[in-house]
């Protein structure tokens, strides 16, 4: 009888298990691919863009040229002769930064207030919950519009701060719920019994266990913020021209959609694919972190 080698089992943390589940979800992997491409384009637009995003080409075979006609301008040029591909690539940076930083602001405020409300209950909870309800009651984009109206010429940081100020109630509600459900658990009571301070218990024991839902929500929120930024630019209250914001590209060519249909199609398609990428990835993460949610 041959000696049987005891089989070795590699221990896997819940996070590792979740990553394995995401990898098996083809749609989520595709979404992650889109996100990676966007990050590359957004971080290093100069490496990929064939032209300067604000350079105007006035010669006859470049001005208002359709896609796939002039190889110099693979996606054509816009209403004043700027290279569409280059503008889309530089626009990725704007979308990405506004999406990510806007989410960061929202997560920071939301986690802070949600954790306080959930952990301390009583008056703290009541006050914070009423504030959360109030911010929920004002339609998000309108609140962002109002905040942006305060600044004369919106800069990127103002736009993402506005989106963050609008987006935090969703985070606060989820974090509050999570904290309340963990507050009474034995390991938290044990930590409290050992004399740890409230902030230690919250930061070291409760919040790390809320990370799953926060990460999922943050991913989906980046998608929402990219849509929000596009909407604000489309309304003409986003970054002022000549910034190559995708929403702005759509609205600036408004009068010409019928004769230059690519200007009505390409920026919108780019927004949709980007947001779809984040949504697919976020959905995948949610299914992975919370197997119960899967049908």
């Amino acid at each position: 009888m041959a000696e049987v080698e005891p089989r070795k089992f590699a221990g896997r943390s819940p996070t590792q298990l979740a990553i394995r589940r995401v990898k098996k979800n083809r749609l989520a992997v595709a979404g992650f691919g889109v996100v990676c491409v966007l990050v590359l384009l957004g971080l290093f637009p100069g490496l990929f863009a064939p032209h300067d995003p604000i350079e105007q080409f006035r010669d006859a075979d470049s001005y208002q040229v359709a896609p796939f006609v002039n190889p110099e301008h693979p996606l054509g040029t816009d209403e004043i002769g700027r290279d569409v591909l280059s503008r889309l690539i530089y626009g990725a940076g704007i979308s990405l930064r506004v999406g990510v930083f806007g989410t960061a602001v929202a997560v920071f405020i939301g986690v802070l207030l949600g954790a306080l409300a959930g952990y301390f209950s009583g008056v703290t909870d009541w006050v914070i919950s009423r504030i959360t309800d109030t911010f929920f009651a004002i339609p998000s984009l309108l609140l962002a519009i109002g905040i942006l109206a305060i600044s004369e010429k919106p800069k990127e940081w103002i736009i993402f701060s506005a989106l963050g100020l609008v987006g935090w109630p969703g985070v606060a509600r989820i974090v509050r719920g999570q904290v309340i459900s963990l507050r009474g658990s034995e390991y938290v009571l044990a930590a409290q019994a050992l004399g740890q301070s409230s902030s230690q218990v919250l930061l070291r024991h409760i919040l790390p266990n809320c990370m799953g839902p926060i990460v999922v929500l943050a991913t989906l929120m980046i998608a929402g913020n990219i849509l929000g930024e596009a909407g604000l630019s489309f309304l003409g209250i986003g970054l002022p021209p000549p910034a190559p914001s995708w929403g702005r590209m759509l609205v600036d060519s408004k009068e010409l959609w019928t004769i230059m249909p690519w200007m009505g199609i390409l920026p919108g398609l780019t927004i949709s694919i980007t947001v779809l990428g984040f949504n697919l990835f976020g959905d995948g993460l949610r299914d992975a972190f919370d197997p119960k949610m899967r049908a």
């Binding site: 109002g146 949709s272 779809l276």
Partner: protein
């Protein structure tokens, strides 16, 4: 049930008050001097100051806020367009006559004010007559436009309100029928091609900006159907429908995506519960199980979903109005931001928020209709 309704109504009050506070604080911080905006860049600084004084813009923030709410009287000065209405025509005429006389003294004005229930203040050495009236949100008055002379905000927003309401109602109808239908079908036929294809369409719908769908419709749907590309024409019912068809479809389709996704998960949740298994085990037809057992229990989450998506729908309406050049509340607010017409911005955002709060209140109150347990349990 009645106490439940009352409690919910009372719960809304602090939220509405906070909404007005946030919106009004925002308003106070929007740059731009109202007097300068109204009277022009080259206007006499003394006139600009007088304008701001009479409108109450020089008063402390809290005083302005309380007046805006209608808890404190606003002052309507004698040269204001509505002074006749407020003070009475005869008093107004006498007041004008008195004020136009040369060398009228402060004590004369005070005597007149006393006799006619008016007030007097002194500004830059001149006496000013005013009437005090409660005119604020509480009285249904949203103030006066800073840009368009003599226009009340309520008047300006009234017509656009009707446009937005029709757009929103048309869209929510499409969104509900399509979204709830697709969501239920997907849950019932879970893991079949129906489920997969409608969920793929739904996630595309969630990711697509509503204004882009609008642009695509203007480019590819309007010409073959002969539908108008933009604007609104209320000359006949048919014209109205023709003009609102595309905007409502665009906004309805986008909103239906969220509703379909959430309805599906709410329905799946119910379908996995024990009583559904029991009903199936009893040998009831699948149709009966779905309609009588599952759907009735999923109705509350579904109604909640629809109520919550109304917020997204209102935001979408702003963008849809912009694509299709409809003069709704959203367009009105955006235009006011460009012109820095603070009172219209404030009023517009406030109305939109109130619509949203009321819809959610109605949703909460409707639970009792759908589920008798709510009536007894919480009532």
């Amino acid at each position: 049930m009645l106490t439940y309704v009352l409690r919910r109504l009372l719960g809304v009050i602090p939220v509405v008050l906070l909404v007005t506070l946030i919106v009004f604080t925002m308003n106070a911080n929007i740059p731009g001097d109202p007097g300068r905006i109204r009277l022009g860049q080259r206007a006499d600084p003394a006139q600009v100051e007088a304008f701001n004084f009479k409108r109450g813009y020089l008063d402390p923030f809290l005083v302005q806020y309380v007046r805006y709410l209608g808890f404190a009287p606003s002052r309507i000065y004698a040269d204001h367009a509505t002074f006749d209405e407020v003070a009475g025509e005869e008093t107004a005429r006498e007041a004008q006559a008195l004020l136009s006389r040369d060398g009228v003294t402060l004590s004369e004005l005070e005597g007149f004010a006393e006799a006619h229930d008016l007030g007097v203040t002194e500004f830059r050495g001149r006496g000013l007559l005013y009437a005090s009236r409660f005119r604020g949100v509480l009285q249904g008055d949203l103030g006066e436009s800073d840009v368009k002379a003599g226009k009340r905000v309520g008047e300006l927003l009234g017509t656009s309100f009707l446009v937005t309401v029709r757009l929103a109602l048309g869209s929510i109808l499409i969104a509900m029928l399509l979204g709830v239908g697709a969501g239920i079908l997907s849950a019932v036929r879970s893991r079949t091609w129906i489920d997969y294809s409608s969920m793929v369409l739904a996630i595309i719908g969630v990711s697509m900006p509503v204004f882009w769908l609008g642009i695509l419709m203007i480019m590819f749907v309007a010409p073959p159907l002969g539908l108008p590309r933009s604007g609104l024409d209320d000359s006949s019912l048919l014209q109205t429908i023709r003009h609102l068809a595309l905007p409502c479809t665009a906004l309805g389709l986008i909103s239906s995506a969220t509703i379909a996704r959430l309805t599906r998960s709410a329905m799946l949740d119910v379908l996995s519960q024990d009583f559904v298994r029991t009903a199936k085990a009893k040998g009831l037809r699948p149709r009966v199980v779905i309609l009588r057992h599952a759907l009735r229990n999923a109705s509350i989450p579904i109604v909640t979903v629809v109520g919550n998506s109304f917020g997204y729908l209102l935001v979408g309406a702003v963008l849809t109005e912009s694509v299709f050049a409809l003069n709704g509340l959203g367009s009105q607010i955006v235009e006011s931001i460009v012109q820095r017409d603070k009172m219209v911005i404030t009023g517009g955002i406030l109305i939109m928020s109130l619509i949203f709060v009321s819809v959610n209140l109605l949703v909460d109150l409707s639970y009792g209709l759908f589920d008798p347990r709510v009536r007894h349990g919480r009532g």
